[in-house]
Symmetry: C2
Subunit: 116 residues, 2 copies
């Protein structure tokens, strides 16, 4: 499943937002989503599965609980895809800014190559 398909669902986007501030238990996520969207626990669990399998989230068991955390890699892919269009909203991307962006991208590629 492609990154954008995963992000196509509002519940999954919201879960990622919740996780953006730190680890959360499946239970607390479920409770928040249940309040906001009115869906059941299995529904939330299935969304968590999609996020896991698409690499947007990682899980860590702690006793009976499961602690979910964001994995930002696929989100970086989305960010990279947007590079095709950044010129449209930053027409005067000046030299300094370009250099920062270029350096960051390079660093990232380097990191990926050196960490299997």
């Amino acid at each position: 499943m492609h990154a954008f398909d995963v992000l196509g669902d509002p519940v999954r986007r919201r879960v990622l937002e919740l996780l953006s501030t730190g680890e959360q238990t499946s239970g607390t996520i479920t409770e928040t989503i249940r309040e906001e969207f009115g869906i059941t626990q299995p529904a939330v669990s299935q969304h968590l599965r999609v996020l896991r399998e698409a690499g947007f989230a990682t899980v860590r068991p702690e006793g009976a609980r499961r602690l979910y955390a964001v994995n930002a890699d696929p989100l970086r892919d989305v960010d990279d895809w947007l590079n095709h269009f950044r010129a449209f909203w930053t027409p005067h991307l000046d030299a300094l800014e370009t250099e920062i962006a270029r350096g960051r991208r390079q660093r990232r590629l380097h990191d990926e190559r050196s960490s299997p």
Copy 2:
């Protein structure tokens, strides 16, 4: 239809990539997509409709042809949503870079307010 739903389809993402380098005729878009994805002209036309209606593309008639162009506004929204997660891949977002980003965002908000 939400921005991410629109981007969930690979054909539509590809169309936007094609348009990122400038205006294109419905016909040339259709031809490229037909080669790459093996779908028919009506299928492409329906995708163009989705892009139009979701505000990702604008059309301009020129005789019998229709010239499509990117409208980047919804893509900026996507970019903004990613701000929730930028800290994950730029942990040492330094002061200068932060300032650039902040300034850009502010400029954008200002632009929106002053252009009805």
